[in-house]
């Protein structure tokens, strides 16, 4: 199981839940599982969430593998000037 942490900015869409464990093999499965569990989170997952796996941040990387036991953190996607 990967340990999933959601950025505190997402708390309103998960009923306050910010930490959970999920059996997912990649980012796409992670988003799918979270979206099913927290429907209000769905639009945010699509609208711009980046994923930190270990210490690396991935943006728009749905097929990025998530190893078992890895630490995964969901954060707002970053753009720039």
């Amino acid at each position: 199981m990967a340990r999933i942490t959601l950025s505190s900015s997402l708390a309103p869409f998960t009923g306050g839940v910010l930490e959970l464990e999920l059996d997912v093999a990649n980012v796409r499965q992670l988003f799918q599982t979270l979206g099913e569990r927290y429907p209000e989170l769905q639009s945010h997952l699509e609208a711009g969430i980046a994923v930190a796996i270990g210490d690396e941040i991935y943006q728009d990387a749905l097929l990025q593998p998530i190893e078992r036991e890895s630490e995964v953190i969901l954060i707002p996607k970053i753009a720039g000037g």
Binding site: T5, S7, S8, S9, A11, P12, S43, E46, A47, G48, A52, G54, D55, E56, I57, Y58, Q59, D60, A61, L63, Q64, I73, L74, I75, P76, I78, A79, G80, G81
Partner: protein, 764 residues
């Protein structure tokens, strides 16, 4: 492919040197073509009618008299664009609410700011087009408006959008609000953190919107043909993103719009989104002629995105020995007429320079009757950091600790847990602080009314979708087609340097240029300091592909095994004599034979670059305050920044100097001034004063290089970080010069003088 290429330390021949940029000669001779320099036979001139009101309901728009004017070939209004649903749609790698985009492009029910477009005309000449605008009759019902962010947040404030309920609040509010979104970041226990604190500093700051201030106004030329294809030439930071947005609002197939990016006369985030482009295509479609649209400077100020003005509250708790125990902030950001300020990123940048156990940040994204904000270099970060670094400085002073030493005691480093998510990887923040402390500037003597200030900045840097193709030409030279715009920094030179380094050939053997949208797959904007990182990674992948194909070709030509062929210094050579001996082949020799030995050789990359390395910077500034006038003079300025690796150090210095000076302008002079009527009073460079040469000293730079492990040459990105620290550094320097803490940006002569006078009055 979701890509990272790991950093490899190696001996470098070209990377790190200073060859001359390939766009240099064209730019010094007037040959370089910018947005307004393109023309087509039979083109019309397009002009936009704009709202004179901050908020008004549109009762009617009558264009009949304008259409009847000889020379007018087409008029478009809201009726020419499809209604879009109120939902976030994925377009060009951005999630955008196209209900808002269509309304910002062309007002529908209401005009929401002074300068909001209402109609556009295309006519045979500029004067005819202007005359036509004057003939368009609009009936308005003028409404009370909301300009100030704090006022706009209050219940009962004039509403911009009746359907807008604050997101991020549970349960859903029962009435609409100008607060589009509330967000919260943090970790630890903020209350416990403040209980541990022995010293607390709390301050409130206000900033005004400032404009990116690129010298080239937005300009485009569109040509729509009867078979439904459109061509567009425009000054943009992202031609693929512009194409995506135009296709969406015009309901066209993406492949039927071909966007050719012109040289861009500055962008800084302000040319990330379309303004006139879709109007020009629509006018061309309606008129059957090419249509050229060039904004006036007044239009640039009144109608294109400045960055947010904001209200920022910061509270910091600390032990007497200088350990921060709690950090709290509230960030209230103006979004302009539609939601979507950079408050999110500002929140994540506010405290990330420090290793903190207890953090809480609340942010609000607030709609007000001003132009919709756009990104501006490290979007949002300078605003939050103005407050935070001012309070950090005040805390250091209260504790009697040197400001750099105080920052070092709390500095983020590899492994620091951020409050917004991940742990930080290898970063160079401490190195920048130490280099600043060791710099002679930090110990230079100061005179009366002079003060020194320090502040620091952090920006994430990003990767994202990137493509390129590298073609070996028949004489052994190469063309490198890039998909990311060279927004000025010289990225074409940097990419060509990396390719030449990989191939072991001279810099001028590689000709880089930016391809149009039909020639490459999708590229995200040049933004977020991603160009040299992401496009550099793509270029290296393409170069390595070319090398691999060259080795394969030579193995066939020389009839030796592939393993026997090494690529070194621009030649295919035997790995060593024991495997196989053959005559080495140079790149031109292989290129000349390529056509007859299987065809030409090319490399290409289509990646989504991952693993951007965060950037940190430390700035030192000396100022002198004229107590009679309130004028602040910058005496000396030093920028220290970790850029990972400076591919072309002169162009990196240019980014650090240019970014710092934009920050100096933000700090000292720049601001949007609105009247009671909600009309912008200073839409020109005379009254919106950006820094000029005589305002400034030389800007000293110190480049720190802590390689990003996720880039083949260690690149982090460097463009955004230098604009973050100046506002706070200058406020801190003023405080050290005259003993007054200024919390209202800009720190312009009237404000400084007012603070001096108030302090004098308080002493009497």
């Amino acid at each position: 492919m979701s890509a990272t290429l790991k950093y490899q330390e190696k001996e470098l021949k070209l990377v790190g040197t200073r060859p001359l940029r390939p766009d240099g000669v064209d730019k010094v001779t007037g040959r370089a073509r910018f947005g307004a320099d393109y023309n087509l036979p039979g083109q019309l001139i397009g002009k936009v009618l704009r709202s004179p009101h901050a908020l008004a309901r549109i009762k009617s728009i009558d264009t009949s008299a304008a259409l009847a004017l000889p020379g007018v070939k087409a008029v478009v209004t809201r009726d020419d664009f499809a209604e879009m649903p109120d939902e976030m749609a994925a377009v060009g790698e951005l999630m955008i609410n196209f209900r808002d985009v269509t309304r910002n492009m062309m007002a529908r029910e209401k005009v929401l700011y002074d300068g909001h477009p209402l109609a556009a005309v295309a006519a045979t000449g500029e004067s005819v087009a202007r005359a036509a605008l004057a003939l368009i009759k609009v009936e308005y019902e003028v409404l009370p408006h909301a300009i100030d962010v704090v006022e706009a947040m209050k219940p009962g404030a004039p509403l911009l959008h009746e359907h807008q309920y604050t997101q991020g609040v549970k349960p859903k509010p029962d009435r609409p609000s100008n607060v589009a979104k509330r967000l919260e970041f943090g970790h630890g226990d903020i209350a416990a953190g403040f209980r541990q604190a022995e010293v607390i500093v709390e301050r409130e700051f206000n900033t005004k919107p400032v404009h990116q201030g690129y010298i080239e106004p937005q300009a485009c030329l569109a040509s729509y043909s009867a078979d439904g294809q459109a061509e567009l030439w425009t000054s943009t930071q992202g031609h693929f993103v512009f194409r995506a947005q135009c296709a969406k609002v015009l309901q066209m197939d993406v492949s039927k719009i071909r966007v050719t990016p012109t040289e861009i006369g500055g962008g800084f985030g302000g040319k990330n989104n379309i303004y006139n482009e879709a109007l020009a295509i629509a006018l061309s479609r309606k008129s059957g002629h090419p249509v050229k649209m060039v904004m006036t400077r007044e239009e640039v100020f009144s109608s294109t995105g400045p960055t947010s003005g904001a209200n920022v509250k910061v509270k910091l708790g600390c032990t007497r020995d200088g350990k921060i125990t709690a950090a709290e902030a509230e960030l209230n950001f103006q979004a302009g007429a539609f939601p979507g300020s950079s408050v999110n990123q500002a929140s994540m940048c506010a405290f990330t320079r420090y290793d903190l156990a207890n953090v809480r940040i609340v942010g609000h994204d607030v709609t007000v009757n001003r132009p919709k904000v756009a990104a501006y270099r490290a979007p949002g970060a300078p605003i939050a950091v103005f407050g935070v670094e001012s309070v950090i400085d005040e805390m250091a002073k209260k504790l009697g600790i040197d400001p750099i030493e105080f920052r070092l005691r709390n500095a983020a480093k590899e492994g620091t847990q951020t409050y917004y998510g991940p742990k930080l990887g290898p970063i160079g923040y401490i190195q920048t602080l130490e280099a600043a402390r060791a710099h002679p500037h930090y110990r230079a003597p100061l005179g009366p009314n002079q003060g020194r200030g320090v502040a620091t900045g952090f920006w994430f840097n990003i990767g994202n979708e990137t493509t390129c193709s590298l073609n070996l030409q028949e004489d052994g030279t190469l063309t490198l087609m890039l998909g990311t715009i060279d927004v000025a920094g010289g990225s074409r030179a940097s990419m060509a340097m990396m390719v030449a380094e990989e191939l072991g050939i001279e810099f001028d053997r590689v000709r880089p240029f930016v391809g149009d949208t039909a020639s490459l797959g999708f590229n995200f904007l040049t933004a977020g300091s991603r160009g040299t990182f992401a496009s550099g990674m793509a270029s290296v992948i393409a170069a390595r592909q070319v090398i691999e194909k060259l080795r394969q070709r030579v193995a066939k030509i020389r009839e030796v095994p592939l393993e026997a062929v090494a690529w070194k210094d621009g030649h295919a050579r035997p790995v060593d004599a024991t495997v196989a001996q053959f005559a080495p082949m140079s790149l031109p020799e292989i290129a000349r034979m390529a056509g007859k030995t299987g065809g030409t050789i090319a490399g290409h990359a289509e990646i989504n670059a991952q693993g951007a390395g965060p950037g940190f910077g430390t700035h030192i500034v000396d100022v002198e305050v004229d107590k009679e006038t309130g004028a602040v003079k910058i005496l000396r300025y030093t920028v220290v920044q970790d850029v990972g690796k400076a591919i072309h150090p002169a162009y990196v210095e240019g980014q650090l100097q240019g970014g710092a000076v934009q920050g100096i302008g933000w700090a000292l002079n720049e601001e949007y001034v609105y009247g009671e009527d909600g009309v912008l009073q200073n839409p020109g460079f005379l009254d919106y004063r950006i820094p000029v040469a005589s305002d400034l000293p030389f800007i000293d730079t110190v480049i720190v290089e802590v390689p990003n492990p996720n880039h083949p040459y260690g690149v982090r990105g460097c463009g955004e970080v230098p604009i973050i620290a100046p506002m706070a550094a200058i406020a801190n320097a003023i405080e050290n010069a005259i003993g007054l803490r200024l919390c209202e940006q800009p720190l312009s002569p009237p404000r400084v003088l007012k603070a001096i006078d108030e302090a004098a009055a308080a002493r009497r």
